[in-house]
Subunit: 231 residues, 6 copies
């Protein structure tokens, strides 16, 4: 029977979920784990404050309680860079749970000595810093800078790209970042382009987390086979 990775976008915007799902196309294979992207319709349209972050936990737990099949997923990815509900879901669900913020910091370690983070909003930076410190990886932070665009401007790919490429350049040149992390689930479309422009790796957090989830599931396939052989 097929394995399944459940990716939950905890904000209520279906368009964001669609973007995330499209950014995961490369992770889909015939016979591979099913990667199912869902929207938490009860979530807020944007996750900008710690109140939003904390408030998502119960909604996520309820969401899993509503449809029993959701609890049968083999791995769960919470697709918001602030990792809302991740610790709580780890306590309450039986399968591995990944937060895309945590996953991207971990994924950055093998890629360069120090990482830079591109945030959407400056006021999120202290929140990100708490996660970096709690992981014990703050000593590898080169710097974090925000593009600080409003909703209207975020709709313009040209404006976003201009700001993002400028911020990325500063992180590489002034801060000494050897790898960049996109500090938001909705920036995947710029990943490859930014990597090409700057010549250093750029990490999309959802891709990083789904990669970690796949590693666990695929290991089980191998392990399963081996376990049977050993029996």
């Amino acid at each position: 029977m097929s394995q399944r990775i459940l990716v939950i976008n905890p904000n209520s915007l279906q368009a964001v979920t669609d973007g995330i799902s499209s950014a995961l196309d490369g992770f889909r294979f015939a016979g591979g784990p099913d990667i199912q992207c869902e929207t938490l319709h009860s979530g807020p349209p944007g996750i900008e404050t710690q109140t939003h972050v904390d408030g998502i936990t119960e909604k996520l737990v309820e969401w899993f309680d509503q449809v029993p099949d959701r609890k049968r997923a083999d791995a769960v990815v919470v697709a918001c860079f602030s990792d809302p509900g991740v610790t709580a879901l780890r306590e309450s669900l039986p399968m591995p749970v990944f937060g895309i913020g945590e996953a991207s910091y971990l994924a950055a370690v093998p890629r360069a000595e120090r990482f830079g983070v591109i945030a959407i909003l400056s006021r999120s930076i202290p929140r990100h810093r708490r996660t970096q410190r709690s992981l014990g990886l703050d000593h590898r932070l080169a710097g974090e800078l925000a593009i600080d665009l409003g909703v209207a401007e975020l709709a313009s790919e040209e404006i976003v790209w201009k700001r993002m490429s400028g911020v990325g350049r500063r992180l590489r040149e002034e801060c000494g970042a050897g790898v960049l992390i996109l500090g938001c689930a909705g920036m995947a479309r710029y990943r490859g382009r930014l990597e090409d422009l700057l010549g250093i790796p750029v990490i999309d957090p959802t891709q990083a987390a789904v990669g970690m989830a796949m590693a666990v599931l695929l290991a089980r396939r191998s392990a399963g086979a081996t376990a049977r052989a050993a029996a």
Copy 2:
């Protein structure tokens, strides 16, 4: 054109490479990245000292120089828990390079608050501790214990299992480990069995590193598609 992950077993034993390759079966898909496992025939039969670890670097660099096609791999995994040559290859090769020791510490973070490590030999523990400390993840180490078996005994699956399950139990119960790491590339066959016995996740380091490599390659497929769309 197909993507390729090159997994190099830096000890000279083809049987170990075969075991590694078999443990990666679950990572192979039609249309997925090719996972090619190779033996560094110039390597030592076992990697037990820091001299062995350091000595492998030049042999690995030469190995890549010998056959130009090897340098065209999309990602490289060095399949020894002491991560020989990993930093050097990162400096000299153009593609991402993963060490299985580093990768397994990183993979352990989302699975539990604190990890335990099962080493083959007690004298490797200080070497592992240097890596843990250098990553900044030593604060999450619950403990590390060795099975300390000689070559003859390592050949007996029954003896290894008995020792490994005992050591794993102590790490879980006495040290408080919430996830275990197999501290050697050659123990993958026990992963699933140990996980089933102890009820906590068990990480095979090569699977962890190949998982991280796949995440990078699969992200590129998505990114590639998106980049084209954006162009």
Copy 3:
């Protein structure tokens, strides 16, 4: 006009709030800040999981929105050792906000080189460890032990005392703790008794946080006077 410290018990049990209020009697003076203890009736009866912790945030924010006068308090104390909603309230309220877990770790520093924590439940210990690590004070932790009693047993003062005094003794003697922290808002009644028995300071977390809140308010009185003089 009088200053006011608003202490919120985020679980729904009025009896717990009453106990907290009684433990704060010593902090009440004629002419001093008013210390008002309230119950979050929408909260859970007990706060035992990360889901409970996160879920309280929105309820707290709403609670402040419901009655405008609450937002006019001069300082807020959230009286649960897991510090639910504290970071979020700091972002959304204008006055200083104190969490009793954080406050008690800080209050322990001047009292001894290393602190011990008495938890109610073993499963809370990883949650507490995250806070200790995030504060950068984990290097001063001597140890944390739980009394692990069920609801029925917690009702018996004799049983609680026996277990608590035993755990306290072990923290002092085996772990080397020089000060103890009661890891729950509901254990204040045992503070003095335990301090007398063991001969080392014992910290009640709510008292620690209210003490920090008072320090801020009383400083303002002084400062106000001085500012006027300087004008």
Copy 4:
């Protein structure tokens, strides 16, 4: 019988003691702990070097030996930002002892992610850094800057204010401090004014330490009552 907090100004200037005492007015209540401010007449007129700092210890110990009543205080606060004699007094006196440097770093933690320090002299900064590092709170330091004024200039409130407000602004804007600490016992008069100007909390160290001392004493009143009830 009344509780008493003994605040010792370890430099010999009575005017400084008077300023400290005046800054503590807000902490005085009918029926509250007596806050007694004393001058260490044997101390140096200023505490500017590590020799001064260390040299105060014996003088403080002797000062307590000279008048038995001093040892009957319920809490002691040493009112110099370099915390002279604090560790020694903790070893030799029975009551809690607070250093105003340590207390202000601890008091800053709940107020913002990162703190800034305003020093009098640049050459004190390495000494302060040692305390910050030893506490494990250096990761929360945004920056420390000195006003670097000579004795004559320090007498002019206008000059001090101009320099202090400039330095405070730089700490907030360039260093990212979310809370400021006045790095000297003699700057309390500027606390409220600076807080009003900059819109972020400003901590006077003596007020922070007296606040921590009061918290311990007031807890005892509550605890005392409870203990009696329990007996």
Copy 5:
């Protein structure tokens, strides 16, 4: 003109100074730096409390002021494991100043992954821990144990040896220490014997500090020669 290292025993016992001087015999060469061991006669007979430690600073500073020739030494070593006055002397004297506690922790790093410390008294251990933490080397501490002997027993070489060898064995076997530090200036005579017994390096702190001082002086001889050649 000859270089000179001034070693000051800050306790008043000439016998201790003589023992220190004798332990430095190996560091004396014809034409080498003069190693002059002096007693701080104004010091206490033993340095057991933080009050003793702090109280020595002014006496040391005065001692240098009394005889101008002392300030012409090329390097100063303060021969007490608690490093009394070291920071203050660094501020007030022109030549390099070494503390034997700090020096021995530094000297231990190249000798093994983790060090053990043999203290005279248990109550000194928190004081030592502060130094280890402040240096950032606490992560390499395997453990610290005291021999806890009274003055009378310390006079018996047999009793001391029995206790010291027992404690050393426990540090090696139970704590995993790969190198031992003698946590007192007066234990040099046991260094070689303990090293022979346990088969791991044993560091005498005064020898470690004098070694660091010599390195600075001898470098200057070389540098002097080279500088002249370059001129």
Copy 6:
């Protein structure tokens, strides 16, 4: 019988070895340890990459195997700032082994609160940072800057001096370094001159390591004498 310190220059340039030996003149005494400087002729002409660093290990081990007398040295110093082979030699040789990078970081600690490093090449800085972090001394790094000169320019003492003195000045003034480390075995000739110019200590790494080696050997002379007396 005479003690001997074996200093190995792991690059193949005899001129570098000669410079090192000359910089150690000050460490040579009649009756003192013999300081023997040798060239690893099988080494690369320069050590600029991690591949070079790792590749030296086996060559060093072989070098010791080739001539039995080499293994009878009393201490070994590997004279390259990247400490090639140091950990491996510690495992395989019976005598103490010192790396000049590690030794110079340790030697810098007693000289100032924070150290600066002058590197030859910018690309070595991440390698140095790994060592600093692994030692736990990264919190004392003020900054590291490179002179970044090519081979031809390195031959001109005037050009090197100009660049080095500029970089040193920036480390002192902009980064706040209180002591400088020359990040290469071949810069000893500038040590004294730079120290004179900047007025802060400058450490030559080989001198630092030979100093630590001498301390161990000279301690043994003292200890030997004492041990005999005690027998």
